[in-house]
C-alpha cells in the first residue's frame, strides 16, 4: 500500500477516532511522524465545526439552519454562527441557551452527558446571579457606546447591587 501523501510505501496505518467517525490513514514513516506530531493542542475548532456541521445537516432545512445561525445568547450576545465558526463559546449561559444543539455534540465528543467528578464548592444559585452580571456589564458598555448615560448609570447601580450582595454560603 502506498502512502496517502507521497509515493513511498505506507508503513504506518493509523485509525483516527477523535474526529467523529473512524478514519483510516496510511502513511510512510515521514508523513506519519508529521501527522502524529501536529500541534500540541490539536486545532479543535475545525474538527468541532465538522462534527457540528454533520449533526446540523440531519433533519434541518437550509432555512432552519440560517435561522439557528442567527440565534444569539441573551447574556453575552454570541450568535450560534460565531460559535460554529470559532469553536469557542461566549459565556457559561451558552450551555443553557444552546443546549439542544450542544447536547449531541457533547455526546459525540465524550460519549457521556453527565458530570460525575468533583462538585462545585458553591450553591448553583450563585451562578445564576453571576450570569446576570455578564449581561448587565455588556448592556452597560453598549449604553455607554450609545451615549445613553442615564441607562448606563442605572445599570451600574444594578451591577453594584449584585457585586455587593453577601458571598454565597457554602453547602
Amino acid at each position: 500500500m502506498k502512502c496517502q501523501q507521497c509515493n513511498k510505501t505506507a508503513t504506518f496505518h493509523i485509525t483516527e477516532l477523535t474526529k467523529g467517525k473512524p478514519q483510516e490513514l496510511h502513511l510512510c514513516e515521514e508523513h506519519a511522524r508529521q501527522y502524529l506530531t501536529q500541534e500540541e493542542e490539536p486545532a479543535v475548532a475545525p474538527s468541532l465545526a465538522g462534527v457540528l456541521a454533520q449533526q446540523l445537516a440531519v433533519g434541518q432545512t437550509a432555512e432552519e439552519l440560517a435561522k439557528l445561525d442567527q440565534r444569539a445568547c441573551p447574556v453575552c450576545g454570541i450568535t450560534f454562527y460565531e460559535f460554529r465558526n470559532q469553536g469557542r463559546l461566549g459565556c457559561p449561559y451558552d450551555y443553557v441557551c444552546f443546549q439542544a444543539e450542544l447536547d449531541p455534540l457533547i455526546v459525540n465528543i465524550h460519549g457521556e452527558t453527565e458530570h460525575v467528578g468533583k462538585k462545585s464548592a458553591r450553591f448553583p444559585e450563585g451562578t445564576e446571579k453571576r450570569t446576570q452580571l455578564i449581561r448587565l456589564r455588556r448592556e452597560m458598555k453598549e449604553a455607554i457606546d450609545d451615549e445613553d448615560y442615564e441607562l448606563a448609570s442605572k445599570l451600574r447601580d444594578d451591577i453594584r447591587k449584585i457585586e455587593e450582595s453577601p458571598p454565597h454560603k457554602k453547602k
Binding site: H13, L36, L48, Y95, H115, R122, P124, T127, T131
Partner: protein, 356 residues
C-alpha cells in the same frame, strides 16, 4: 520574577529524576476553570480581561499550597521571554502568542503554573518529573479546592465545570505523560502503540520544537474525554497505560541490543560524534541526535555522560534558552552556530577535552 534566574537550570520537566525517568520524562495535570461572572475569553472586552486578571492574580497568589509563587505579566514580556516560558512548559504556545491582559503565576520550583486568560480564564498546571501522576493530581486537587472557596467557578449541575470549548467540559481535566520512546521509533513499532492508544481514546502527540518540527522521539499521552468520568479514573486511565509503554520500549531496546548491537552502537556513537564536533546545527537535528545519545547513555553504550547534563542540553539548545544564555538575540543562522559551539563546549568538557 527574574526569568534570568531560571535560565541556567533545566526546570522541572527535564529534571530527569523521579520514577522510571529514563523513559518517563514528566507527568503533567491541568485543570480548566472560568469565573462565573465574566464572559469566556472570546466575548471578553479588554476591561473584562483586566478585571479577570486582577481578580484571579490576587486569589491565586494567596494559595500557599502552590509553593512560593511569582507572578509574570505575559502581556508585558518580550517575545523571546514568552518563548522562553513556552520552552520551559510553563505557559502554552497559545498563551504566548495571544494578545491582551494575561499572565502566569509560577512556583519557584516550576512544578506549578497558573495561566490567567488563556483559552479559559484559568488553567492550573502541576508538573512533576518522572512518573508521578498521583501526587501531581493530589496537589492540583488541593489548589483547585482552595481557589474554589475564594471565587465562583462557572459550574452546571449536570455538565460540571463549564469551559470555553465543549471538549474540556465536566472535569476540565487533562492528564498527560511525556515519554521518550526512541527504540519504538527505530523498530517501527510505534504505529501499533498509537493505534492501540487511540482505540481507548487516549491522544498521542509529539513534542514541539522550533516551528513545526518534532522534538527527538518525545511523545505525550493524554486523555481525550473530560466528561462522565471521575477525575481519579481519568488519572488512572493514563497512569495504567504507562507501565505497558515502558515495557514495550524496554523490550524494543533489549531487542536492539541483542539483535542489532553494532548498528545501534554505531548510530549512538555517530550521534555523539556529530554533537561534539559540528560547527553549525539546527534545533531539530540537535534534538534528534540528543535523543539517540540519551538512549545510548541509558543502555550503557556511552559511559562518560550523565543524564542530567543531557536533559539540560535538550532545553538549553532551544532557541530562546540559547539566546538568553548568550545574552543577545540571534537570527537562525547565528543561533545554529552558537548552538554548535554550546554543544561542543559542554560535551567535550565532560570528558576532559579542550573545547573548540
Amino acid at each position: 520574577m527574574d526569568l534570568n534566574e531560571l535560565v541556567s537550570t533545566s526546570g522541572e520537566w527535564l529534571r530527569g529524576s523521579g520514577p522510571e525517568s529514563d523513559i518517563v520524562i514528566s507527568s503533567r495535570i491541568r485543570l480548566a476553570r472560568n469565573l462565573a461572572e465574566f464572559p469566556f475569553i472570546s466575548r471578553a472586552t479588554q476591561q473584562d480581561r483586566t478585571e479577570i486578571e486582577n481578580t484571579l492574580r490576587d486569589r491565586v497568589l494567596e494559595v500557599q499550597e502552590s509553593g512560593e509563587l511569582e507572578y509574570v505579566n505575559v502581556n508585558d514580556l518580550k517575545v523571546i521571554d514568552r518563548q522562553f516560558l513556552v520552552e520551559r512548559q510553563l505557559i502554552s504556545r497559545e498563551h504566548a502568542e495571544s494578545e491582551g491582559a494575561r499572565g502566569v503565576a509560577i512556583a519557584r520550583n516550576e512544578q506549578v503554573s497558573l495561566m490567567i486568560n488563556e483559552e479559559d480564564h484559568l488553567r492550573i498546571q502541576v508538573m512533576h518529573s518522572g512518573l508521578d501522576l498521583q501526587s501531581a493530581w493530589e496537589q492540583i486537587d488541593q489548589i483547585d479546592s482552595l481557589l474554589a472557596q475564594k471565587v465562583n467557578f462557572a459550574y452546571h449541575p449536570k455538565l460540571g465545570f463549564l469551559t470555553a470549548c465543549p471538549t474540556n467540559v465536566g472535569t476540565g481535566l487533562r492528564v498527560s505523560v511525556m515519554l521518550h520512546l526512541p527504540a519504538l521509533v527505530i523498530t517501527r513499532q510505534i504505529d501499533k502503540v498509537f493505534r492501540s492508544l487511540q482505540k481507548i481514546s487516549l491522544a498521542v502527540r509529539g513534542l514541539y520544537g522550533e516551528g513545526s518540527q518534532a522534538m527527538g522521539d518525545f511523545y505525550q499521552i493524554s486523555n481525550q474525554i473530560t466528561l462522565g468520568k471521575k477525575e481519579n479514573d481519568l488519572v488512572k486511565q493514563v497512569g495504567d497505560i504507562v507501565p505497558k509503554l515502558i515495557e514495550y520500549e524496554r523490550k524494543a531496546r533489549d531487542f536492539l541490543v541483542r539483535e542489532s548491537h553494532e548498528n545501534l552502537h554505531d548510530k549512538v556513537a555517530r550521534a555523539y560524534g556529530i554533537l561534539r564536533t559540528a560547527q553549525t546545527i539546527s534545533s531539530e537535528e540537535t534534538m534528534h541526535l540528543l535523543s539517540s545519545v540519551r538512549m545510548g547513555v541509558n543502555l550503557g553504550l556511552i559511559e562518560d555522560l550523565q543524564i542530567p547534563l543531557l536533559n539540560e542540553l535538550f532545553i538549553h539548545t532551544q532557541p530562546a534558552h540559547l539566546q538568553k544564555l548568550r545574552g543577545v538575540e540571534l537570527d537562525t543562522a547565528d543561533r545554529n552556530i552558537e548552538r554548535a559551539r554550546y554543544l561542543r563546549r559542554h560535551l567535550n568538557k565532560s570528558n576532559g577535552d579542550e573545547a573548540n
